[in-house]
């Protein structure tokens, strides 16, 4: 409950900060529409030439794109800005101010910056997810919906924990922007189900960068092609990464000696 209240405070702060730059809202809408429009056009171009792609049909791919943009929005709204700020704070020493606050430090650094305009990505993602869903509604039963919900939460936890692991490295290494660049480069591969990639790439996308777990697995649940075993595996990875990143964070924090005077 307390963490929700903290999130709410940061969200309000984020809104107040960005409300000063209202024109950015329109720029954001333009960019997001362009982004989503491009992704949908690419699907249309490819499905003008084929009716299935590695077993996926067009509406299922639209739903997958919806999941992709929902995850993308979630990362862009809070995970990426907060943790990028955290890495910067380690370098500048202002992390010390966060550490003396009477709340869990991991929670604080994970929520410290909220980019409200990026809600547009999330909203557009939900819209095309809904669009894809209505076209495959007949094949989505209660079990698929439940599996989707579980897989989506597991995917979000996996992505967050993965970012947390990366960010924690800032205690040891100063320049991590390059590593984040790698993440974003690989993340765009998630616009397509990982089944289309050759095996070595599929393993990279699942193991090194958890794109498959974040996007393909939830969409597979909707398309009714996710086995219970894989769902359990995705959940196990999410739980393991959540605890692992928590442990790593505490380990890093113990090593942190402060940089300010």
């Amino acid at each position: 409950m307390r963490s929700l209240r903290i999130f709410w405070v940061f969200a309000k702060l984020g809104f107040q900060n960005e409300a000063a730059y209202r024109a950015n809202f329109w720029v954001q809408i333009f960019e997001s529409l362009l982004n989503v429009g491009s992704a949908l056009t690419a699907v249309a171009i490819i499905f003008a030439r084929t009716d299935t792609l590695a077993g996926w049909r067009a509406p299922e791919l639209v739903a997958l794109l919806g999941v992709y943009f929902v995850m993308y929005g979630a990362i862009q709204i809070v995970i990426s800005p907060s943790l990028t700020k955290f890495m910067e704070d380690v370098r500048s020493g202002s992390l010390d101010f966060t550490l003396v606050k009477p709340a869990d430090a991991q929670l604080l650094v994970s929520l410290s910056e909220v980019r409200v305009w990026k809600l547009v990505d999330l909203a557009l993602g939900l819209a095309i997810l809904a669009n894809g869903l209505t076209r495959i509604a007949a094949q989505v039963g209660a079990w698929q919906a439940l599996g989707f919900g579980v897989a989506l939460v597991a995917g979000a936890v996996t992505v967050y924990s993965f970012w947390m692991l990366l960010a924690t490295c800032a205690f040891w290494f100063v320049r991590l922007e390059n590593v984040l660049m790698i993440f974003w480069n690989m993340y765009q591969a998630g616009r397509w189900p990982v089944d289309v990639y050759p095996r070595w790439l599929r393993w990279t996308l699942t193991g090194l960068v958890p794109v498959a777990l974040a996007v393909t697995v939830p969409a597979e649940a909707l398309a009714g092609r996710l086995s219970l075993g894989n769902l359990a595996l995705a959940c196990a990875v999410a739980v393991a990464l959540a605890f692992g990143s928590r442990w790593f964070w505490k380990f890093g924090l113990r090593r942190y000696s402060g940089a300010s005077a």
């Binding site: 720029v27 056009t41 490819i46 030439r49 084929t50 792609l53 660049m181 690989m186 397509w192």
Partner: protein, 267 residues
């Protein structure tokens, strides 16, 4: 002439030294160059598999040849000035560039060429590894292969001129981001990156032929792979020359106006 030769020797030497300093960033930038073609290569190969092994004359191994060559052409022709100009204006770097007694485009061109030359050391092994993984099938057409390098050089000149000219927009607007993203979205669809142009829906093919984007990337690739008839190749060179002329005229006309709009602020 001598002046320009000496100028470029100095520019290239500096640019290569800078390039060698930021090796890690460059290699990661290269990863960004390779990821997108590999994605569409995989997607189209999967589509070809779903259609019984072939789409419009392209099998998975033809797609592999197409996208591997496209990766190289895209890397060689690409520039980053549309992003860089915004930074230059905001940070006031233009003031310094304009103090030099030569047009700033020369420094940019030298920097671009140096980056491309140095990056081949990493890109070519990467492409070789991808070739090993995707087993491309190249059909060699001697006359077309001989014309590949001229087409590539023209494509580079065309893309450089167009992007440098569009980048000048930042003298008029501070929201250059929207201009850039629109350009890159159109480029993505019409330059043969989302799909080989012949596989696009016919309405898009018309735009691809009429606008300069196809001639910046897709044309040298199609030519090098021997997919064009001599008549198509000639039309392609004509389109490249035409658009290069248009872009150069635009650049010549816009640059003095942009300079007049420029006013430096700062120290």
């Amino acid at each position: 002439m001598r002046f320009f030769r000496d100028l470029y020797v100095v520019f290239l030497r500096v640019a290569i030294a800078v390039e060698l300093q930021y090796r890690a960033s460059s290699v990661i930038w290269l990863l960004g160059v390779v990821v997108e073609p590999v994605i569409y290569l995989a997607v189209w190969s999967a589509a070809a598999d779903a259609q019984g092994g072939e789409i419009g004359g392209f099998g998975p191994r033809d797609f592999a040849a197409y996208y591997l060559l496209l990766t190289l052409v895209n890397q060689i022709t690409q520039g980053w000035h549309m992003w860089e100009f915004q930074y230059r204006v905001q940070q006031g770097q233009f003031a310094f560039l304009l103090l030099r007694p030569v047009h700033p485009i020369h420094g940019d061109l030298a920097e671009n060429l140096a980056h491309k030359a140095v990056m081949q050391v990493a890109l070519l092994p990467m492409l070789a590894a991808l070739a090993w993984a995707f087993e491309p099938r190249f059909a060699v057409e001697p006359w077309a292969l001989a014309l590949f390098l001229p087409a590539l050089a023209l494509a580079f000149a065309l893309r450089f001129a167009v992007e440098w000219t569009l980048a000048l927009a930042c003298f008029w607007t501070t929201r250059i981001m929207a201009v850039n993203q629109t350009y890159f979205a159109v480029l993505f669809f019409l330059s043969g990156r989302v799909a080989p142009v012949e596989l696009l829906p016919s309405s898009l093919v018309w735009f691809a032929d009429a606008l300069p984007f196809r001639w910046m990337i897709a044309f040298p690739v199609e030519l090098g792979l021997g997919r064009l008839t001599p008549a198509q190749a000639a039309a392609g060179f004509a389109a490249q020359a035409l658009w290069l002329g248009v872009a150069s005229l635009g650049l010549a006309a816009l640059w003095p106006r942009a300079l007049r709009r420029f006013s430096a602020v700062g120290t």
